[in-house]
Subunit: 256 residues, 2 copies
């Protein structure tokens, strides 16, 4: 089977044009089929505040009112997605920006209002691999924003890590998939703040129990394990610097 790179970038790198450019240059140089999924950075919250809305996060996830949905759709699917695609094109990478409704690529369902009502937030139901594979086979590199749809005309705000994990998993029957979740730090840290070379599920559970792994790192690692369980061959957690090779640290996530 052919190799497929699935890379998720997010956090501060989106807000720093110079840093983002370096990462996109590195992505553009990867040979073979590849998919990029991007988060939103701080721009959506900034825009919410400018418009007199109040960004509200629970467990690092945005409560998405109908006004907030307009903002994230503008910022993620519009500004950030098209800025990234235009940059990649200038680096010789034939990118195509996609959100869930495009080609019905990512279908999601609105998260139930209980226990917490997140508003217009979607959980991925289905990845349209045949549509996405047409793009890959045509030599295009899909660039996904985490805006999806429910098939009934409703856009939904989706977690970009989860989207990356589910997309990687969906392609594991068609390609040898490597998933890289890039974020601010170089990997999963142990109690002394050193980057773990690898982490399996039982050590993950121990480190959660003793409080070493907490907050946003828990869903991120859960997404990583979910991808492996769906058949993804290799999952790495690392900083976006890793992509441009300025650092070699990363954590390999393994099942056991």
């Amino acid at each position: 089977m052919e190799h497929l790179e699935v890379i998720k970038i997010g956090g501060k790198v989106i807000d720093q044009p110079g840093q983002l450019e370096k990462v996109l240059q590195a992505f553009a140089h990867i040979q073979g089929p590849k998919i990029l999924i991007h988060g939103g950075g701080s721009k959506a919250s900034e825009m919410e505040r400018t418009l007199g809305l109040k960004p509200t996060m629970v467990d690092g996830r945005r409560i998405t009112s109908s006004d907030a949905l307009e903002v994230v759709t503008m910022v993620y699917a519009g500004l950030i997605n098209k800025t990234i695609v235009a940059k990649l094109q200038s680096f010789g990478c034939n990118a195509i920006g996609l959100s869930g409704p495009d080609g019905n690529s990512i279908l999601s369902s609105k998260r139930p209002a209980k226990p917490i009502d997140f508003g217009f937030v979607g959980d991925v139901e289905k990845v349209n691999t045949s549509f996405i594979d047409i793009q890959l086979k045509s030599g295009l590199s899909p660039v996904f924003s985490a805006i999806t749809h429910d098939g009934n005309g409703q856009l939904l705000n989706t977690n970009a890590d989860t989207m990356a994990s589910v997309i990687a998993g969906a392609f594991s029957g068609l390609y040898n998939v490597r998933l890289t979740l890039a974020f601010e730090i170089e990997g999963v840290l142990d109690a002394s703040g050193n980057v773990l070379t690898k982490i399996d599920e039982s050590s993950f559970q121990k480190l959660v129990k003793n409080g070493t792994i907490k907050e946003g790192m828990i869903p991120k690692l859960t997404n990583a394990f979910d991808a492996l369980k769906s058949g993804v061959k290799e999952v790495k957690l690392t900083s976006s610097d890793y992509l441009s090779n300025t650092t070699h640290l990363y954590t390999n996530v393994i099942l056991n």
Copy 2:
């Protein structure tokens, strides 16, 4: 040759969800290959004002500062494009939202700063028909926002009528193309305010000279004639109501 429908919608229909829905339903029901190009409505100017910017138009075209470019990219390529695509998907139309950088579909160049500096405004240089045709041949209906790119990483704000005309023209070698430019009124009006059944280039020039045709109608008709000169088989100017068949008035634009 197969038939291809190229339809541009713009103006107030974008601002009226009920009206927009009717038009999109009509578009969804068109059989065979089809492309939709949409304008922006009043949302971008609203957003500019909310953000403390001052929308400035010259000859009906927006002076696009770097801040205004962010706004139109958010509103056109993000909010409006994805809202339309999600609606079309719910009506059973397999739409794919595209802007110029996506698949390098529409390459433009920044308009020279003289005689008027429009800022980040682009004039279309090249339509990537082979990329767009892959989508059409896969049964997808491209939905274009009028945000394009220059190939060097710069996004540019482009006139949606011109984009529709140039896209229609570019496909005239591959399909029998019909271009419909839909806007607020039912067609080109004569001096008494009646819709002309048809208009050719010499009567156009006469009506411009005597002041019957003026302002935004002049570039719109120029785009229509340009499309015909590029080989488009049929060009109609009509209101968006025409698409949902509630009215039968329209102006046929013909060369002579």
